[in-house]
């Protein structure tokens, strides 16, 4: 599978008047490699009170955390709250971070929890990370039609974005979050399990269902009969 690539847009580094701990370079696209070797060093310096080290971590991950918040909550204000809370809580609780996972994984866990809380407030009793008794549909082997080589090119970028936002928003949160962590953020199966507090087989099962459900929902837009 071609790994998920994230386009890198250059943002100016915001600094808070403190000498930088390390020279900054743009984040790498893959989550598996996004955590650079100096992350542990930055965390350690931040724990010792070097706020510029924490700033560097923020500059490095803010776009990814905002995107994750947007993708889970589907709402800009909620995504902003998620991002702010994730960074403020991680800073406030840095002493509790033991380094048994990557800082980025820990940060994502906080952000996911914040995002799910937003969803629960919006839809009480409807957002749970437990398996649903039934999701009311079986996406396997429905609507089997070829899409052609590059079906997404049939749409303008804004139209495509609307389609993707709509179909991901229709997924049950328990499937949506797993898909976002694994396939969009590129986080490993084991780390996704750790972040969500579920087993590795549960991640695999939810990822399969998420992928199949998205495939089925995109089918009506991308099948050859619609796009030719």
């Amino acid at each position: 599978m071609v790994p998920c690539q994230m386009s890198v847009t250059s943002y100016p580094k915001l600094t808070l008047g403190v000498q930088r701990f390390v020279s900054a370079t743009e984040p790498k696209p893959l989550a598996s490699t996004v955590v650079r070797d100096d992350e542990a060093q930055l965390v350690s310096a931040a724990k010792a009170g070097d706020v510029s080290a924490f700033e560097e971590l923020v500059n490095r991950y803010e776009r990814k955390i905002f995107r994750l918040g947007m993708n889970i909550t589907q709402n800009r204000e909620d995504a902003e709250d998620v991002m702010q809370d994730a960074f403020l809580k991680s800073y406030q609780n840095l002493d509790r971070f033991q380094g048994d996972s990557r800082f980025y994984t820990w940060l994502v866990r906080i952000a996911v929890n914040e995002a799910l809380m937003k969803l629960r407030k919006r839809r009480p009793n409807q957002v749970s990370l437990d398996e649903p008794l039934t999701d009311g549909e079986d996406p396997i082997f429905r609507e089997i039609e070829d899409w052609g080589p590059s079906p997404e090119k049939k749409f303008a970028q804004t139209e495509l974005n609307e389609i993707l936002t709509q179909v991901i928003g229709e997924l049950d949160p328990i499937f949506r979050v797993v898909f976002l962590l694994r396939d969009v953020e590129g986080i490993s199966t084991e780390e996704t399990a750790q972040i969500l507090g579920i087993s590795v087989p549960a991640v695999k099962s939810r990822l399969l269902r998420a992928r199949l459900k998205l495939r089925q929902r995109l089918n009506k837009h991308f099948r050859r009969s619609e796009t030719q």
């Binding site: 599978m1 071609v2 790994p3 998920c4 690539q5 994230m6 386009s7 847009t9 943002y11 915001l14 808070l16 009170g49 706020v51 924490f54 700033e55 923020v58 803010e62 776009r63 905002f66 995107r67 947007m70 993708n71 800009r76 995504a79 902003e80 991002m83 702010q84 960074f87 403020l88 800073y91 406030q92 396997i140 082997f141 089997i144 039609e145 070829d146 899409w147 079906p151 997404e152 970028q157 495509l160 974005n161 993707l164 991901i168 898909f179 396939d183 969009v184 695999k204 990822l207 399969l208 992928r211 199949l212 998205l214 495939r215 995109l218 089918n219 991308f222």
Partner: protein, 81 residues
């Protein structure tokens, strides 16, 4: 291998972590089953389309508010320590 087994192994296959013997069985099935081939191909494209989609931009005002909130927290912390 039958169609049901292909679906069960689909995630591992697309992630490239399927054990080689199972992968060969699966690919032999794909060579003769059009439906499975389409499901595998369109599922792979589903992932690629999301991966290649335009990233959500971080608006400047949102970013500025984040850094202002952090600065405020840094200052409060420095006063209490």
């Amino acid at each position: 291998m039958n169609c049901k087994k292909v679906i069960l192994e689909l995630t591992s296959y697309l992630d490239g972590v399927l054990e080689s013997g199972v992968r060969i069985d699966l690919e032999e099935h794909l060579a003769r089953c059009t439906d499975c081939r389409i499901v595998v191909d369109t599922t792979r494209k589903t992932i690629q389309i999301f991966c290649n989609s335009e990233p959500v931009p971080l608006p400047d005002d949102v970013r500025t508010r984040l850094h202002t909130a952090l600065l405020d927290r840094f200052r409060r912390n420095s006063k209490t320590t």
